[in-house]
Subunit: 673 residues, 2 copies
Amino acid sequence: MTTSETARDMANAVRFLSADAIENAGSGHPGLPLGAADVATVLFTRFMTFDPTQPDWPDRDRFVFSAGHGSMLLYSLLYLLGYPDIDLDEIRSFRRLGSKAAGHPEWGHAAGIETTTGPLGQGLANAVGMAIAECHLSAKYGTDIVDHRTFAFVGDGCLMEGISQEAISLAGHLKLSKLVVLWDDNAITIDGKVSLADSTDQIARFEACGWDTFSCDGHDQDAIAAALEAAIASDRPALVACKTTIGFGASGKAGTAKVHGSPLGEDEIRTMRETLGWPHEPFEIPAGIVDQWRIAGLRSGAARRKWEERFAGIDAEKRGDFERSMRGDLPSGLKQGFDRAKREANAERPDLSTRKASELALEMINAIVPETMGGSADLTGSNNTMAGPIEVFDAENHAGRYLHYGIREHAMAAIMNGLALHGGLIPYGGTFLAFSDYARGSIRLSALMGTRVIHVMTHDSIGLGEDGPTHQPVEHLAALRAVPNLCVMRPADLVETLECWQIALGAQHRPSVLSLTRQAVPALRTDEHDENKSARGAYELVPANGDAKVTLFATGSEVHLAMAAKKVLDRDGHATRVVSVPCFELFAEQSEEYRAAFLDDPSLKVAVEAGVRQGWDALIGRHGIFVGMDGFGASGRAEELFAHFDITSDSIVHRVRERLAEMTPTEESDPDV
Amino acid sequence: MTTSETARDMANAVRFLSADAIENAGSGHPGLPLGAADVATVLFTRFMTFDPTQPDWPDRDRFVFSAGHGSMLLYSLLYLLGYPDIDLDEIRSFRRLGSKAAGHPEWGHAAGIETTTGPLGQGLANAVGMAIAECHLSAKYGTDIVDHRTFAFVGDGCLMEGISQEAISLAGHLKLSKLVVLWDDNAITIDGKVSLADSTDQIARFEACGWDTFSCDGHDQDAIAAALEAAIASDRPALVACKTTIGFGASGKAGTAKVHGSPLGEDEIRTMRETLGWPHEPFEIPAGIVDQWRIAGLRSGAARRKWEERFAGIDAEKRGDFERSMRGDLPSGLKQGFDRAKREANAERPDLSTRKASELALEMINAIVPETMGGSADLTGSNNTMAGPIEVFDAENHAGRYLHYGIREHAMAAIMNGLALHGGLIPYGGTFLAFSDYARGSIRLSALMGTRVIHVMTHDSIGLGEDGPTHQPVEHLAALRAVPNLCVMRPADLVETLECWQIALGAQHRPSVLSLTRQAVPALRTDEHDENKSARGAYELVPANGDAKVTLFATGSEVHLAMAAKKVLDRDGHATRVVSVPCFELFAEQSEEYRAAFLDDPSLKVAVEAGVRQGWDALIGRHGIFVGMDGFGASGRAEELFAHFDITSDSIVHRVRERLAEMTPTEESDPDV
């Protein structure tokens, strides 16, 4: 098999645009674009269905560029294909502040970038999520409306990361036949040859995970096409191993780690121009070649128009539902659902765990919101995530809305990113809060992109009891609160849990974490009206009698301890108010005036949370009293542990009394004491 | 093949001890101990080499119980074999506060627990680390002194976690022939059958990773023995797939998820006593069976005594070195090495990145400390981790002290835990600080266990430049500082980098993170003597002229900005001091008096760090000025980014001036403003 001259020129256009841009930027990763230009050319000009004039066409094929460091490959393609956002000026300003062509592809910077990549392995798992989304929506709306493929481009690094195993084993299990992974098999990583650190037979590994596999010479475009053709025809997810030479064309460095992450240098590029027969100036692509690319870019326009005709012809309600969910709007009726649930909660005031409260919320939500896609990393019964009228999504039932993710926290979070990025779905998934650690790489990316992904994280303190310190989160609330744009919520009872779910669903451009208890907690909120108080981040749950002498801040399962302490302190004559703090981030977004009323009044500040202190000093100051953890937990009964670690209402009372006794009358009014 | 009656009784002793303890505790995981009792009995009575009378014998075989939720299996074995710490009272108090038999096995609670497990997949990677340690130390000291095996016991969950792929692919690559993994192939997880979420052919997967594989009926002890025999004989790491029935013997629930994580219940246990022919009372093990176990426990005593004879006969220096490094003591000469390096740094005062400073430190350290074992997750040239007289450890060169971990941050951290737990080695490993997220599961466990593991994390802020927000840590310092017992250090120049390395090496019972710059920073410290000032956590780098009106706290690459701002503020007449804060944790451990001198004086408090504010309020208060990040970074040149995000000396000066101008003379002395 061969590569035609035109096709070779088209690939060389990608190579030189990339190499010149990296040279111009003074940094970047030329090895991948040079090596993968043939593969990408074949994929985009012969296989992918998309329309640069309507880049958001819902039924386009998705291209996930998991090996994000080779970003110039993607930018070159987007420019050559005629996508609107990446022009030559953006490419000339590659990696400069404000350029849409950032160092790594950033979702939202330019049409055609389907997800943010760079941390390796993430894109592969995102692609699995997109393929699940397509599969489900296709079952829901019919193949007339949803019928597209997901292509992921991965490097050796993506396949070495553990998340890749979680993603490919789930994809194989679910038989995601419209998923094709192109592996840029160049056998080089930053440290040198892959063989320095790995000897895995990747083909055999994918086959062990239920994939179909194909191989090709990644510089023979017809061979690439034949492999892709076969991969697409498979009834299983398919790997196409493309044997490439990193830095192809840069003959002085090609095939070595030298070409991975540094500009080629003027001499090398000059030689490359000779080697590849490319006499053009930097950033100059002959018009004929650009034309060929533009023609290729427009070749699915007719398919797109036909899709629009079909879409216009479907049932109006179905169409409206599709459009609404793709826009990310919530269905009408949800607010009433929450209001009703809150009124019922107020009437019944049940003692129950907030994970159970979350289950009650989900029963209502999943009945009203058809686009939720739930799941759990093998803790369904513990996370209480399977609720309401939803079935399991699996290889047999694509209409299902619940994923058994298996023991794969990292991939779960990345797959949820993919589900959200695809559009039309609102993913939520459960694990224990302590295991948020396993998923942080993906949680961070959802915060960076602003995807609506909802993490249901139960067993959120020593209150989980006997499983001990490996399972008891201590630093996790602080560590998650540290992530920008992540909404971390720790509700205190059923009403707050409903409110936090309402906030999470309404937050179209940020991910949320719901931190929920294993153990039962009493009902505390007795609202007269439907205001979502949790949306303030912190609010006065019970005021003091008169001016507060003591302010007790608390979250989640510790709010009732503060309530009990208040009663005793009130009897002591120390007017005490209780402030529930379901969400630090939302509180930080309130007006300075609102915040100051809690923080700058002269009352003694106390915080109660069964986690570490970090972050609380912003509310209570360095001399505030913190009732919480200062190290790891232990194995034992929950009640014993709270007593052992001195997180009790007695301890609150004792420490407040002690402090108040120390304070002279004049000092009492000093906010800093 | 078969199982003899005695052997079956011995296994049943494990089953009933476990089931009774779980019943007594009211919670726990009986499925695994019941299912794996035969496998464990064969392993411990016929294959493992150890001596319960000397559980710390350095050349013992290591047993890593990766599926930690089945902890009662391990406690039953330790009791029956005659290990000193776990007696029947401990087993009766299983999962109670203070018991050595905690919910999950906790390293340090009892002899025979080689690592803390529970979070799945970790133990498997720890075992890879232990096998690497054995392999290296065997090459270093000879097989007369170091020649033992590492056995890991894993469940389906361990193999679904991504970390397992990282660990097994590296183990296969390194041909760790003394590593044997026993897979409890019971096909059940918490949510139900493994087939709900996974269809991986694990045997094929391990073979794809270079492992030898064997299978057996996990309830036929002779078959188990035959498989183990073959696995041990292999010249590659070996998987033994043991087909078991979860909850074997508890016929009402066996083979289902019901038996995974809840006590069997009285009725089920009664029936099980009948089914298995075990007429004894709870916690009653017939003396004859205990005797058989004790005899098995003592069967390697002679081997241990022979080892001691051999060890006594080796070269005294070698022996001393082995004993010292196994104790965890540092070699003499290291303090002088640091003192000399600091004096040279003071003389030369070079402008250089702290990652380069770390390389200089490592050149000296690796020359003096023969037990360091370095490495990087494919960022050797970026992390500057290969320094001094060390070679690469690989399948051919076991004497090497540098691991190409590949793109496997999570396994790297867990393998380092295994290296440290084995003893005789001090592991350090590099990645980018942003990718600490990938490794948090293992970092947390090292903090919980208190293993001396040193994480070299470079590219520690927007100062890395063009790679953009996916690679720029923002919340990572806060998120790592939140972990109890983790020493997070961010040195400002070469001298502080040397000091931080000295602290990390000296911290025998805690892990450390060194947060290091990509970009050059100026030399700031000009010490006259050898005091390790960084060990204070925070110290006055430059005092104010007279009483400080302004205190500038800063870390790492931002300290020099504070220094420049001080000059201008001093000229303004605002007496300013600069406090370098290389380590929050060490500062928190200083006396309240020492801390108050920085925190409670009336000066205006300012913090400068190119990360999020979280954690800084404890030093500067809610009204202190924070010059840092409040969101994600961007792609661009480092200098541009610092300007863009307003982290400059000008910005410090501007904000201080503005605040001082707002303050009336009386307010100026109020520490809370």
